[in-house]
């Protein structure tokens, strides 16, 4: 790869691999006006010009660029949607007793809930999934993807994160408008049609939030509900992670049912750590966590689905009343 790129002109290289611009920029190598110069010469000139300020050698820059291009090609070629199923094979509880299941399969487009008190082992379960445990974590669990031992890239690659997370404590911290922010995210994901994606995310987020916001709204001034809605829509549409973990998003001021539907429509595997009955009953199954392990797997029963219907009615009524309050109406 190094030999293949080093004698190309910068213009040709960026023509073939536009994403490589980030690498030049990250190393402060200015390519403007140097399109007809070969990559190796641009690096040598850069290192020479930097003199004692040079951080790397031209060879190291070349090696890094080659690695960057290879990783990005892998990222683009990879069809991450190919995670069709996740399998959990049992390990042990904290006290060493075996977990009480033989094999849990979760398919894409499916929601599963994780319940259990604080400290019971929910985080460890998630960490096992994220690290695609192969009997080498404290629980001794094994995680398979598509019924096979997964590629090690899931562990270390910054561009192949298996799990995307959404939780109540998360905030936007960048000083950007919604539009700029989404553009930045879309570009980092090498999305094909950035402006279309941005519009789609904003539309979806507004459909989830009680109050709509404009593309020009700064992300830091969104309300809690709007932030959550934007995070969910963005994760559903732009994140390449095939698994989404939702950690306690009750009272978020958003339409939770729609939010879940959006994530599932993008063929994600959704794990929800929640004690909110509306969310918990939306999942087909619940994993009961206790003493560091999975104690039981419960299927949502018909009777529970009836309860869910009642709760959904109450939930909608609460949302409706909240919206009327917001509009300054009387509730009587």
């Amino acid at each position: 790869m190094i030999n293949e790129i080093k004698n190309q002109t910068v213009g040709a290289l960026l023509g073939t691999y536009p994403f490589a611009a980030v690498y030049f920029d990250g190393h402060h190598v200015d390519t403007k006006g140097r399109e007809s110069v070969t990559v190796v010469d641009v690096f040598s000139d850069f290192v020479t010009a930097a003199g004692e300020d040079a951080v790397t050698t031209a060879d190291e820059l070349l090696e890094g660029l080659s690695e960057h291009v290879q990783q990005m090609l892998l990222f683009l070629a990879d069809d991450l949607d190919t995670v069709r199923s996740l399998n959990l094979l049992p390990g042990t509880h904290k006290d060493g007793t075996p977990e009480n299941f033989t094999n849990i399969t979760i398919n894409s487009g499916e929601t599963i809930c994780i319940v259990g008190p604080t400290g019971s082992g929910k985080s460890r379960l998630l960490a096992d999934i994220e690290w695609v445990a192969q009997g080498d974590t404290p629980t001794g669990r094994t995680v398979l993807l598509n019924d096979q031992v997964p590629d090690r890239k899931w562990r270390f690659s910054p561009t192949h994160k298996l799990v995307a997370q959404l939780s109540q404590n998360m905030n936007f911290v960048m000083d950007l408008t919604v539009e700029e922010f989404l553009e930045m995210h879309a570009e980092s994901r090498l999305a094909d049609n950035v402006s279309d994606v941005v519009v789609r995310i904003i539309d979806q987020a507004n459909a989830l939030a009680g109050e709509s916001f404009a593309p020009t709204t700064p992300i830091t001034s969104l309300s809690g509900g709007q932030s959550r809605a934007l995070m969910i829509a963005d994760t559903a549409i732009l994140s390449r992670s095939p698994i989404v973990l939702i950690d306690e998003i009750e009272n978020a001021g958003i339409d939770r049912q729609k939010a879940l539907e959006l994530l599932l429509s993008e063929e994600k595997i959704v794990l929800m750590a929640t004690h909110d009955p509306v969310l918990a009953l939306m999942g087909g199954r619940r994993l009961i966590i206790a003493n560091g392990g999975i104690e039981a797997v419960i299927e949502t029963t018909e009777a529970e689905r009836v309860i869910l219907k009642e709760l959904a009615v109450m939930d909608r009524r609460m949302t409706d009343l909240r919206n009327r309050l917001r509009r300054g109406e009387r509730l009587e």
């Binding site: 974590t137 995307a164 939780s167």
Partner: protein
């Protein structure tokens, strides 16, 4: 003994990450110690002691912290070997973003946090760009999108590094990092003859020697002027 250099900007979560990671390391029945390099003062040694981790503290005072680090690291290695550690972690703050304590053939870790902003990976020099493992912290408080953008910026400046997300508060990811320390096969008996991955900041000017007055006539030695047009 295995040796790991851990560095990162101030307040990025180095100590919290190391504490949680060594906890997981101890669970494997292995013994680890820490040396903490800092400038003026540090109370992190108390945190390590509280966790039952043997610690040595080195304060560089008026000296460049990186020069101080490299002048003492061999002695520290011998201290660690004398104590019978399986692993010695050297923790130092990259105070000027240029610094890098990384040594060739020694596992190098850089800790950066999501809150520092997406342009930070570009601003940090060899400390990040030459690390073998980049640990990203404080992921529990920023959005998924910001985490993804930040990680992709890290990958763009250091495509070779393994990137791990560790939560210094809950310890999520620390077990995984400890397993990478455990996987490290290179043992260090002495660092004599080893080389830094990158040169230390260079300076020998009147201010290094204690000058406090401002003005060209007081400036001697290795002095550089800004270009102002």
């Amino acid at each position: 003994m295995k040796l790991v250099t851990v560095c990162g900007p101030p307040s990025s979560g180095k100590t919290a990450v190391i504490l949680k990671t060594l906890e997981a390391f101890a669970d494997r029945g292995l013994k680890a110690g820490v040396v903490k390099f800092d400038c003026l003062s540090t109370e992190d040694d108390v945190l390590y002691e509280k966790a039952g981790i043997p610690v040595k503290k080195g304060l560089s005072g008026p000296l460049c912290p990186d020069h101080y680090f490299v002048s003492n690291v061999e002695e520290i290695v011998q201290w660690g070997r004398g104590k019978g550690f399986d692993l010695l972690v050297s923790e130092s703050a990259g105070l000027c973003n240029r610094c890098s304590p990384h040594i060739k053939e020694v596992l190098a870790v850089c800790v950066v946090d999501n809150l520092s902003g997406v342009t930070t990976p570009k601003k940090i020099g060899p400390m990040l760009k030459m690390a073998d493992i980049v640990v990203i912290t404080k992921g529990d408080i920023v959005s998924q999108a910001e985490r993804e953008v930040f990680a992709s910026r890290v990958a763009a400046v250091n495509p070779k590094a393994a990137v791990l997300h560790v939560n210094g508060l809950t310890g999520q990811g620390a077990f995984e990092l400890s397993s990478l320390f455990d996987d490290e096969e290179r043992e260090v008996e002495s660092l004599i003859g080893y080389q830094l991955r990158f040169t230390m900041p260079s300076a020998l000017c009147s201010y290094c020697l204690g000058e406090t007055r401002i003005g060209e006539s007081y400036q001697m030695g290795n002095v550089r002027k800004m270009k102002i047009d």
